[in-house]
Point group: C2
Chain length 284, copies 2
């Protein structure tokens, strides 16, 4: 595995993939690598000739010093894991490289931003879109892989790729879960038993929603209400959003008569936690 | 000259330049080609191995149907001119291609936007930055050439290239003027004598400002006042902005003790008209 440290090394790497005959797959991570990342890497190895992993703690996602320190401490283990998974290139840009102090150009997804607004902050949305675009411009991958768990990220990415004529194909990959059904996230390893317990309530609420949908329930409001009851009131769990949305444009659905994204964003302790599933409706 | 009409043709073209050994130069025009464009093309031929010209009426710049019609009528003459100048590739994207109805992702230059705000509309700034980025992503040129006349465009471009990690070098090229000193613009050929007369007043005011600066005047407010007097009140001339700015960040200067961008934006009849010069101050 080659670790890309300078712009020259990046240029040299991308030159290899510019003919279009060999394909580069891209996976983004904030560090604290887990099974979910490994699944993306394996998918990337299947679809592309080489795999590049960028590990970057986007300031839109991570601000607290404690997490930044953990990310830094974990770096040697992350590198070892990437190498053992057959990753070809790894890049660990610093904040100064992608976000120097006078970095002031941002990508905004106007209408999508409005729909996300109840769900995520502007800073989150713009920060995510901007870093994705920077990475696409720097590395020029053929494919970029995102986990279903981060469906909103996927939608942001898909949209900016289309609207800004980026030459990359976004690929959605299934969520990977631990033996309890909890989706792996960068914070998974930082959760104690209490955090795992409340995070599982979110997954269980989603499971209940799926069952109701399969049993024929069509009313979004009834399903959401049931989910909220199941998640209950827990000091460690702050549910920020529960929605049943059109997976294409995130418009809220009143009745589930077509495909629906059932989506929860929460905070578990100080960590962001999100999970979702897409319910596919058979059209006659 | 090859006219690029499909995404496949664009991909095939860019593949030629991806090794980095041969360089592609990019010139953007809205049509109604003039001497200013030809100067950019000649500069591009000097610095690059091949030259691509994109002719596109950015909706942020052109809305009126009459101008759009003129642009369309002029197309065959534009093509002939480009071919005669040794342009290698020309591309005439339609609005549906770069701005389909649900195109909603935009590039914003946060702080620069604020400074521009007195000068240009948000729509202008965002529209320009977004189309530039789209063109950079589509064509992946090594160089992009902008005329000094459009210094603000150059600054927008330079900023987005740096902040979004675009791999293109922006190149500023001198303004080309007709025998009267009027800078060529896409509207130059549409000006009647009356329009030319009032546009010249803008150029003369800039000339007077240069003379005052050379004579040692340091007060921006006195120079601006003198310029406004010289431009006077003309029914055809709507001066929208007169400024003396730091050329690096567009902050207004009170005293010209370092390099200064002296800049006018006006409307001549229904056409946007801009001219400027940079005054270089010798530092001891």
């Amino acid at each position: 595995m080659k670790i890309l440290e300078s712009p020259d090394q990046i240029l040299e790497m991308t030159a290899r993939f510019q003919s279009g005959e060999t394909k580069l797959g891209f996976v983004s991570a904030m560090g604290l690598l887990h099974e979910g990342h490994l699944a993306l890497i394996r998918k990337a190895r299947e679809m592309a000739d080489s795999v590049l992993v960028m590990v970057y703690a986007n300031p839109a996602l991570v601000q607290d010093d404690e997490t930044l320190l953990r990310l830094k401490e974990q770096r040697p283990a992350d590198i070892e894991l990437l190498a053992s998974e057959g990753v070809d290139y790894a890049c660990f840009p610093g904040r100064k490289e992608l976000h120097p102090k006078d970095h002031r150009t941002h990508v905004r997804l106007d209408k999508l931003d409005q729909r996300f607004r109840g769900i995520e902050t502007d800073q989150y949305l713009t920060g995510l879109a901007t870093v994705y675009l920077q990475a696409m411009n720097l590395f020029r991958p053929n494919f970029v892989f995102v986990a279903q768990k981060n469906y909103l990220d996927f939608l942001i990415l898909k949209r900016l790729i289309r609207d800004l004529d980026v030459r990359t194909e976004p690929v959605l990959s299934p969520t990977v879960r631990d033996e309890n059904g909890l989706p792996y996230s960068s914070f998974h390893g930082l959760f104690g038993d209490a955090e795992k317990g409340v995070a599982l309530k979110v997954c269980q609420a989603l499971g209940a929603a799926r069952e109701e949908l399969m049993a024929g329930e069509k009313s979004a409001v009834r399903i959401i209400q049931r989910m909220q009851e199941l998640m209950g009131r827990e000091p460690l769990l702050h549910v920020r959003f529960v929605g049943i949305l059109d997976p294409g444009n995130l418009e809220p659905l009143e009745r589930v008569t077509r495909d629906a994204l059932v989506y929860v964003v929460a905070h578990v302790g100080r960590f962001r936690f999100t999970d979702n599933f897409i319910f596919h409706v058979q059209q006659d």
